[in-house]
């Protein structure tokens, strides 16, 4: 399941909802991406996340179904926020659930690596010198390239 929303997410509630009554699940991995108060040596007072409604949901759904086809996942969830965010706020929540931990760990990394390089979101950070668009990082491309294939 995927969701794109302005509101914050409740990790415990989302996890309980994903696991439900499936007692074949033996491992749940939760990844939470947070807004940091420093970036490239500059302090960040807040951030705005822009996205492309429609394409964002399409890409997240495709990334999630790719993970489901690569690993034996019992369930998964991607929640990505947009709009105004402050340091400490959650940006993205990725939950993967599987009978055993290996699949849940690997799928979690895969989902985060791919969504960072494929889902159409853009961060604009406010620093003491003014607001600026965040540049894409080569290290994110390298992380995504660990997983072969395209979507």
């Amino acid at each position: 399941m995927i969701r794109v929303q302005r509101e914050d997410f409740d990790v415990a509630a989302e996890t309980a909802s994903i696991v439900g009554s499936d007692h074949g699940i033996g491992a749940v991995v939760t990844f939470i991406g947070l807004v940091r108060d420093i970036s490239g040596g500059e302090s960040i007072s807040n951030m705005t996340l822009e996205h492309y409604p429609g394409m964002t949901e399409k890409m997240l759904e495709r990334i999630e179904s790719e993970a489901m086809s690569r690993w034996p996942l019992s369930a998964s969830l991607i929640v990505h926020r947009y709009g105004h965010l402050e340091p400490g706020d959650g940006i993205v929540l990725v939950i993967t659930a599987s009978p055993h931990r290996e699949a849940a760990f690997e799928a979690s990394e895969f989902l985060v690596d791919w969504l960072k390089t494929k889902a159409p979101f853009w961060k604009r950070e406010t620093t003491p010198a003014g607001a600026k668009w965040v540049a894409a990082r080569d290290s994110d491309d390298a992380a995504a390239a660990r997983w072969t294939g395209e979507i």
Partner: protein, 83 residues
């Protein structure tokens, strides 16, 4: 054709979207970018370096040689930075 702009491409051009009448000789993404640059100095500046502009045609990533047609929705934006 509907053309959408996001992030700094949007702020440099000063528009989030526009509807354009495509000339007959524009049939690829690359030709569309050339034509859009001719719409004004802000378009020309924002779109001058195609290595930092990503393209989606009908919500799918597209390369410079991909075809475009009048009914398409084309989005132009920088490399993504979510997550």
């Amino acid at each position: 054709m509907k053309v959408l702009y996001f992030a700094w491409v949007r702020s440099q051009i000063g528009l989030s979207e526009e509807t354009v009448d495509l000339p007959d000789d524009v049939s690829t993404v690359s030709e569309l970018l050339d034509w859009l640059r001719g719409r004004g100095p802000r378009h020309a500046e924002a779109l001058h370096d195609t290595s930092v502009v990503r393209v989606a045609v009908n919500e799918e990533y597209a390369s410079l040689d991909a075809p475009v047609a009048a009914g398409d929705e084309v989005a132009l934006f920088p490399p993504v930075t979510g997550g």
